[in-house]
């Protein structure tokens, strides 16, 4: 329950028109049970099975690959190009290493590894670092979102929460010199509804080094105590739902926690609110805050008579065929609940679109769909936001939707003091 807040993300709603799946525009097509064979090389097996059964359908939209890359700003790509040859990973924990010093870099932005060689024995780890720096480019922000537990008969639980994050590394806005705790990023999250979880909140600090575990504190209003909790709780279900803190961006942990291995490449359908970026607008109340409006992804249980499983997105989500690296990740933490996790990383933007999870006994049990949207402001700023996660437990045939927020913001000048235990303990005052 306490960890529910660590999960997701940012952003806003706009009254976007509902998608009519039966009417596909040019360059778009519908993949459903009638033509499921066309999805054979575009979807992970358990997803393909549900497509074949008529539970899932996809509005597929083709994109121009060059234009798609421009979802990230020129500043990001220039920084990426400038990183060529500068970095490596250290052998023990796959930590990012500056070749010139043999130590962790002081600061960088852009992808640390512009060129990925599939024959490189450390390639899985390098792909994971690129993924991390795609996440970090925006610097920080926040959103209020919901977690919805859904089974065959509809929604059985709803939790409303918010999350605020601040990044120190990877920011396109440049390095924050005042970083006494040597952090990569930090975040605060809290539950708002229902009443039994209201005020449950967490503080997370991720250190910019190769060895440290994340520092996590959880606050429960009834005990009025903020207690340190284990970072492995990221693999515990959030709020009793079929969703996990580590589903944020499809991987929410520190890169060094996992052992990464590239096992293949292919093409998958990437879930996106729209293929190209959203714009942001200045918050009239705060000079350093920028607002983003995004459409709500309604699911089947909210649209009576809709097609497919009750948890399947019905509108405002498109699926873009994208080339991917297929990477296995496995935690070295004995308290971590997941066994082998299979992830599909975009070859250009390093977003993870799908992940398949095995438990420690080697049983496959869970698939997460990770949907994104991009934000761009000219060629000097861009951000990638995790819009939603759909976690489907194939063992229990239940699902949870996380994210789908309608308002979010980018904050370019957080007060670091906000990310403190004091904030947690005063949240319900």
């Amino acid at each position: 329950m306490i960890r529910l807040v660590r999960v997701l993300v940012l952003v806003t709603l706009v009254c976007a028109p509902a998608v009519q799946p039966a009417v596909a525009d040019e360059g778009e097509w519908i993949l459903d049970a009638n033509n499921w064979q066309e999805g054979k090389d575009l979807l992970p097996d358990p997803v393909l099975k549900r497509l074949q059964n008529g539970e899932y359908w996809f509005r597929v939209v083709a994109v121009d690959p060059v234009k798609f890359k421009q979802n990230f700003s020129k500043k990001f790509w220039d920084a990426t190009a400038a990183n060529a040859g500068k970095y490596d990973v250290e052998p023990k924990q796959c930590g990012l290493m500056d070749k010139a010093t043999g130590k962790i870099p002081e600061f960088l932005t852009g992808f640390p590894f512009p060129e990925i060689d599939p024959k490189d024995p450390k390639v899985g780890c390098k792909i994971a670092h690129n993924f991390n720096f795609a996440n970090l480019q925006g610097g920080g922000g926040g959103a209020t979102f919901t977690l919805n537990g859904v089974d065959g008969s509809g929604q059985f639980r709803r939790i409303k929460a918010y999350i605020h994050t601040m990044g120190y590394q990877g920011r396109l806005d440049g390095q924050i010199k005042d970083n006494p705790d040597n952090l990569q990023a930090q975040g605060v999250g809290a539950a708002i509804e229902p009443i039994d979880v209201e005020g449950v909140s967490t503080l997370t600090k991720r250190y910019w080094d190769w060895e440290s575990q994340d520092a996590l504190w959880a606050y429960v209003p009834s005990t009025r105590r903020a207690r340190r909790v284990n970072a492995a709780t990221r693999s515990d279900p959030v709020g009793g739902l079929d969703i996990f803190a580590d589903d944020l961006n499809c991987y929410g942990g520190k890169i060094e926690y996992y052992q990464w291995k590239l096992v293949g490449e292919g093409k998958v359908l990437a879930p996106l609110l729209q293929p190209y970026p959203f714009s942001m607008s200045q918050d009239p109340k705060r000079a350093t805050r920028f607002l983003i409006k995004t459409p709500y992804v309604a699911a089947g249980y909210e649209k009576p008579g809709s097609k497919g499983a009750p948890w399947w997105p019905q509108e405002n989500l498109v699926f873009v065929p994208r080339p991917v690296w297929i990477v296995e990740g496995q935690s070295s933490d004995p308290y971590y609940n997941f066994g082998k996790v299979i992830m599909y990383f975009d070859k250009d933007l390093y977003r993870i679109y799908w992940k398949l999870v095995h438990n420690r006994a080697g049983e496959y049990f869970y698939t997460a769909l990770c949907g994104y949207h991009f934000i761009k402001d000219g060629e000097n700023f861009s951000a990638s936001f995790p819009s939603m996660v759909l976690g489907v437990n194939d063992k229990s045939n239940r699902a949870a939707l996380g994210g789908r927020y309608q308002t979010s913001f980018i904050e370019r000048n957080w007060d670091p003091k906000y990310f403190s235990i004091r904030t947690l303990t005063r949240m319900t005052d």
Partner: protein, 164 residues
């Protein structure tokens, strides 16, 4: 509490402590044995036959090579690690119709040998309805067991890189 009572309590405590120190704890009930049953390092030959393709790899000087001499993919070690880790989660007994579990001509056959002797010989059938596991039958037994679907993933991964 009298002095005598306190001494009696100390004596009882000492007996209990001695019991804990002297008598070994009961061994946990034996769980099902892993599919491999021997250390991964001792395996020196792997033969895999899918319905439409077959491969064989041998280990010499620490590295795996195919019969044709090609270096084996890393997926070989990952398959072995999976076999060493996976244990049956359920025993379904001996079915009247093994084909209902994919244990017929569609099955994948895996034989792992060490020093010339088979140490694991398996038929791998269909995935279960939820796809959380696969049906497996060990050579010499009619029982069908369910093991984690990781085995299916590892075999498919190997098939993708090791077969034309």
């Amino acid at each position: 509490m009298t002095l005598r009572g306190t001494l009696v309590l100390y004596a009882v405590l000492a007996v209990l402590a001695a019991y804990l120190l002297i008598v070994p704890p009961p061994a946990p009930p034996p769980g099902p044995e892993s599919l491999l049953g021997v250390p991964v390092e001792s395996a020196d030959t792997i033969e895999i036959a899918w319905p439409d393709a077959a491969v064989r790899f041998r280990r010499s000087d620490g590295s795996w090579r195919s019969d044709a001499g090609a270096v084996a993919p890393a997926a070989i070690d990952e398959l072995l690690e999976a076999l060493a880790m996976l244990r049956p989660t359920e025993n379904l007994g001996a079915p009247q119709e093994p084909a209902d579990y994919g244990l017929d001509a569609r099955a994948t056959r895996v034989v792992v040998s060490a020093a010339g002797e088979p140490v694991a010989s398996l038929e791998v059938g269909d995935r279960n309805p939820a796809w959380t596991g696969v049906y497996v039958r060990r050579t010499g037994s009619n029982d069908v067991v369910v093991v984690g679907a990781l085995l299916h993933w590892e075999l498919e991964k190997l098939r993708a890189v090791a077969t034309p």
